[in-house]
């Protein structure tokens, strides 16, 4: 069933339309990849879905219109993982993951038993327990990515929006993060992840949304959404496909 859906969503920054007339829905238990060339409007669409940008059109959460929710209510339902795994202060990994519980507490509360359980679970899922007391700034890129994901999972929001969760990671850590996202989806989350690696998107996603010049031009099963003809028109690349397991995945060949 649909958890988060948007219809005819348009986002303007200044006078420029960055996202035009986008309609989509995310279902519980589903991992959806959002792909598109640089500047297609992926991040803008995701920020609008997270309620961080004003938009026209309608966004509904569990069938309820988005704008009746307070920012904190929205934060309990939608976890957002921005690009780049930013940690400004050398706080401990545990403190960082605990930030995921911020939408649940009141202004002066300390961690509740629920908060502790959620943090422990998120750290177990992402296998970050061994870093618990370490300053987050001392971790490697792959470790930071897992801690960032643990922070987002600790909110226990039904929706997770992740902007390039695998960017700047080595191949092994890319797979680790994608498997973590699959695990979270299997646990009932609705996940939308912006991705640049089409091969990974095709391998791990249940559906793929393709954006081109601000519009969603395809939302389909990976093999259809990422068919070679579409990759040619949207990305300007010639792609071959290979079979990995039971999935046909694209491999970029050359720029057209």
């Amino acid at each position: 069933m649909s958890v988060l859906s948007a219809s005819n969503l348009t986002v303007r920054i200044g006078a420029k339309e960055i996202v035009c007339d986008a309609s989509l829905s995310l279902n519980a238990g589903e991992l959806v990849a959002l792909v598109g060339p640089n500047g297609a409007g992926k991040t803008t669409l995701m920020r609008a879905l997270a309620g961080l940008l004003p938009s026209q059109g309608e966004i509904t959460l569990h069938g309820k219109p988005f704008d009746v929710l307070t920012p904190r209510e929205r934060a309990r339902h939608i976890a957002y993982l921005p690009q780049g795994h930013i940690f400004h202060w050398p706080m401990s990994v545990e403190q960082i993951v605990m930030l995921g519980r911020a939408p649940h507490g009141d202004a002066f509360s300390t961690a509740s038993p629920d908060d502790r359980v959620a943090v422990t679970q998120a750290m177990a899922t992402t296998e970050t327990q061994m870093f618990i007391g370490r300053p987050v700034t001392t971790l490697s890129g792959g470790e930071k990515a897992r801690v960032a994901l643990a922070r987002a999972l600790a909110t226990q929001a039904p929706v997770l929006l992740a902007d390039e969760p695998t960017a700047a990671l080595d191949p092994r850590h890319q797979l680790v993060v994608m498997e973590l996202l699959r695990k979270a989806a299997a646990g009932g989350n609705a996940i939308l992840a912006i991705m640049h690696d089409l091969t990974l998107a095709a391998r791990f996603a249940d559906r793929v949304l393709v954006m081109h010049e601000g519009r969603i031009v395809a939302q389909d099963a990976p093999s259809d959404a990422l068919a070679p003809e579409r990759l040619a028109t949207v990305f300007g690349i010639e792609a071959a496909t290979v079979l990995i397991g039971d999935r046909r995945v694209p491999i970029a060949g050359r720029a057209l």
Binding site: L52, A79, Y80, P82, P135
Partner: protein, 334 residues
């Protein structure tokens, strides 16, 4: 979990109490601890007058101003996610001083009226709001520091202009000394005009603690956790302006407490920007009390100004912080 922070807070509170008692004892007429405390509670005899009318307001102001500056520094650092943020680097005290100096120089109001802190607060508001507006969403260190430099220079020029145009040399001299920062000859009148604004700034800034903690993940992630980032930014502008504006109106420019106090406590309580705030305020109070005592114990016949002492201590610490973090800073500049 919070035990180290609590221990530091208790230790700092004890230190402040001890420094406050010493501050009541030292001066041209030295008093024993017993005489100082007896004078404080009885208010009788010369000791009573010295302690209650002269040293008590000075001591309370030192503590309040120090706490306000320490907290303002911690808050700006939390907002901008940078340990090198400090009101004085952003022109706040300079702008507050310029506005307050204008009020004094042109005789709009006597030095102990509410007009002086109000002018100081307005000046500080303009500079901090300008800085935060220029720094924008990404709060890049280079942009922030350059904007702060420009604002501080502009405020300095405005103050120079006021001195230039001052109606008579006595007023110009009075302003020049006041600008150096001092708690000499401050009375309970000063306490009454400044304390309400400083207390208000504590409340406004203290309420932002959780937002600062979330901001360690950047503004987008903080907003996605339910933090109203625009509101937080505005509250920090208001809180810092209230506190620094009122402090400057009473003591003149006392710089670098906002930089040094959070830096000193961060080693003990960790980097969590929310947890740094209370210890930073306490450390700020202790620092200014200590500096103000050192001034009175100094051999000099002319009292050295408080702002001079805090800058002489603060700037080397600032330079050492830059030196230690220079690799990180070089990364931030590119």
């Amino acid at each position: 979990m919070n035990r180290p922070a609590l221990r530091i807070e208790i230790a700092l509170a004890a230190l402040i109490l001890a420094l406050a008692i010493i501050s009541l004892m030292v001066g041209p007429a030295g008093l024993s601890p017993r005489a100082a405390i007896a004078g404080l509670f009885s208010g009788e005899g010369p000791a009573g007058i010295i302690v209650r009318d002269i040293r008590l307001p000075r001591t309370l102001l030192a503590g309040l101003i120090g706490a306000t500056l320490g907290l303002s520094g911690a808050a700006l650092q939390g907002l901008l996610r940078n340990p090198l943020a400090e009101p004085a680097l952003f022109g706040a005290p300079q702008a507050a001083a310029a506005a307050a100096a204008a009020v004094i120089a042109f005789g709009f109001a006597p030095v102990t009226s509410f007009a002086v802190p109000v002018a100081g607060i307005l000046g500080a508001t303009i500079s901090i709001a300008g800085l935060v507006a220029i720094a924008g969403r990404r709060a890049s260190l280079t942009v922030t520091l350059l904007a702060g430099l420009a604002l501080a220079s502009f405020a300095g020029a405005a103050t120079a202009l006021i001195l230039n145009l001052a109606p008579n040399p006595f007023i110009a001299l009075e302003i020049a000394f006041w600008l150096l920062g001092s708690l000499e000859d401050r009375s309970s009148d000063h306490l009454i005009i400044a304390a309400p604004f400083m207390l208000a700034s504590w409340i406004v800034l203290g309420a932002q603690a959780r937002a600062f903690r979330a901001l360690t993940l950047g503004e987008d992630a903080a907003a996605s956790l339910g933090v109203d980032v625009a509101r937080t930014r505005m509250m920090v502008v208001i809180g810092v302006a209230l506190g620094v504006g009122a402090a400057v109106a009473v003591s003149g420019a006392v710089g670098f407490v906002g930089l040094v106090a959070p830096h000193l406590v961060r080693r003990a309580v960790g980097s969590d920007p929310a947890r740094v705030m209370l210890p930073a305020a306490l450390a700020g109070a202790a620092l200014v009390l200590l500096a103000d005592i050192a001034i009175r114990l100094g051999p000099s016949a002319v009292e050295i100004k408080l702002g001079v002492v805090t800058a002489l201590i603060g700037v080397p610490i600032f330079l050492s912080m830059i030196f230690r973090e220079r690799r990180l800073l070089e990364g931030a500049v590119s």
